[in-house]
Symmetry: C3
Subunit: 270 residues, 3 copies
């Protein structure tokens, strides 16, 4: 059974998500539709880009990932369908596919403009229902991407400036918090690979993490490594550094939110 | 695969929606269950009626739409099953089907009272689980409506007084905000047809929309027609007039909510 | 089609639930995944235990119920798979299965530790994705429990101290509020059976319910038995005493929340 995932900022109170599912099921009745998130902050393109990049690898090959965070709906912005890394993607050309396109394994990339696959009439405010949903349904049922429109080059697509962690001249890693989850975990853009470059010991015992006024020595192997209420740093489930409080909320503890700078230094041996 | 949609005020924290799905899957394992909304305001029958009317046409023919906004649960209120416009509906007889029944294409209408299709024992507070879910499952699997109870006449059903936009003697359209979505868009009951009667030019350039102290000249073709933060009016995805702020929140901008009056006038040619 | 239910404290904004579904569908594409609740209060094991016990019986036999409320993730806490009452359960060994295990119909109980069924590498913070999801997928596809690890004895499992209603020497029932739903209904741990022992008349007309300063005479047969805004007590859909306000919110009315004591006395005949 083919799979379609949904990433939107529509929330779950309004009928928008249901309408899109109705359109999909009208075209492709045998499909598993998975809501990854409908609570992306309204029109937060960077959050959508990070979320897509974090979640898509866990789905079966050939899954169609449909991103509808689309402040430019109804304007001249394009819609893009892509095949990359064995998955399919459908999104506005507003940068939400930045990490996918720049990931390097893009096989096919088309501009979706064949109205034969659109629901008619196409409304001015809800392409999710009238373009994305029917096109995703056809993608899931195996229609080749070239049927949806002409090929485009990766260089011609919109891109977001997604912050990347970087190594300073002083030999420290500078990154930032890119997401905060329901538990208050602060998820950074500093990945395990970069940490290993700073400290070859896999345990990270020689690393020191700084956020705001707080300083955390070493990486923990589990939340329980510190006592309840204690601050810790850990390699999280995205493979990136996270700052957490055991049985608590690191966002509140650190008074930090998305965008907060995080610095990782190597503890000097004395 | 048959489709059952759910419209409730149960929210998603409590186990109620899950229980209903369990009952449905126990009877009809091969079914797609789509949550349209579980965040209808508790016991807000008008909101449920509008939401159902907006969403159901996007689902496949023969979909079973199950509405459980049911403040009268356990009392003597009836339960109604209907076939209308190629779709099936199951709801309490409290008016939430008003727009469906008055839509004119009702083929079959029965009072659900055959306990053979109920889950036993029927609780006093949760007919969603004990009556609606099993009956919807049987409807989805193709059981004829007449098996659930006796036919009833449309005139015998409860109805809600749903506000309709009207043309004043001064030649203006008077309507109101009937829903506000997650983005703060103000959705009115003034449909495109009525606007066209006021201004034959499809673009709506001669129309002037008034809400509170705010006045909007002309209809926009997309959110981007005005600069970010600007107020606009547009034909929304329901085919009705909506008042929006480009990349912003019209509810906050206009300090308006459900029930706020909206007036549309024709700009006088001078 | 097999069914997997999810009980977590992950919320629906973060990608965690979607990731787990992706992993499940990668292993078992033909499965119905039902979200029972992802809004269990973070790390509230008692709430998870009550919720599971309330919801699981409504699902088809052989359903796999997967509970991921797991503050001990990454520590030495065990993971348990069980067959009981014709259903399958998968949860951390932290007590969330207390009511299932003590329910008396446990057929098989194993400690999940065969890494052959885990997603590799297993992260330190998200066993829901890397252990629970793939194991549940294999359980749903019919893999015998013994393949996941060695048998364990019920006595060796962690248990929660779940409050039970009790009969006092004065012949009164003492219980407490164990959950509050979206409508503000106060759900107690006083079940119908215990009430019948106090008052043989099924209508409960001789019972008097006390919560805080409030006193409710008799049980209602439906919310409508009292006028709108009135306080009532009723046997709710879980088969337990609930305190409600007709068309209102008993939590606000009584200023009571989870843990609030509830007392039921027999009205003395004079």
């Amino acid at each position: 059974m083919p799979v379609i995932t949904l990433f939107t900022d529509f929330g779950l109170s309004d009928p928008y998500v249901g309408m899109m599912k109705g359109v999909i099921l009208s075209i492709t009745p045998h499909v598993s539709i998975v809501d990854v998130s409908h609570y992306i902050d309204p029109q937060d393109l960077c959050a959508a880009a990070y979320l897509l990049d974090a979640a898509y690898p866990y789905f079966p090959q050939k899954t169609v990932h449909m991103v509808v965070v689309d402040p430019g709906v109804g304007s001249s912005r394009k819609i893009i369908a892509a095949e990359a890394g064995g998955h399919y993607f459908l999104a506005p050309d507003n940068g939400v596919l930045t990490k996918i396109i720049d990931g390097g394994d893009v096989r096919t990339l088309v501009r979706v403009e064949n109205p034969e696959y659109f629901r008619q009439p196409v409304s001015r405010t809800f392409h999710g229902r009238d373009i994305f949903a029917p096109v995703a349904a056809h993608m899931a049922s195996g229609k080749p991407l070239d049927g949806f429109g002409p090929r485009v080059c990766p260089v011609d697509l919109s891109r977001l400036e997604l912050s990347a962690a970087r190594l300073t001249e002083a030999g420290e890693l500078l990154g930032e918090v890119i997401a905060v989850d329901r538990f208050g975990n602060l998820i950074t853009n500093i990945d395990q690979q970069k940490l290993l470059e700073l400290d070859a010991s896999e345990e990270g015992g020689n690393l020191c993490v700084h956020i705001g006024e707080h300083r955390i020595n070493g990486l923990s192997a589990s939340y329980q490594d510190v006592s309840a209420g204690g601050l810790l740093s850990i390699i999280g489930s995205r493979g990136c550094l996270e700052i957490s409080v055991n049985s608590g909320d690191a966002r509140a503890y650190c008074e930090a939110d998305k965008g907060a700078p995080v610095r990782v230094a190597r503890i000097r041996e004395r």
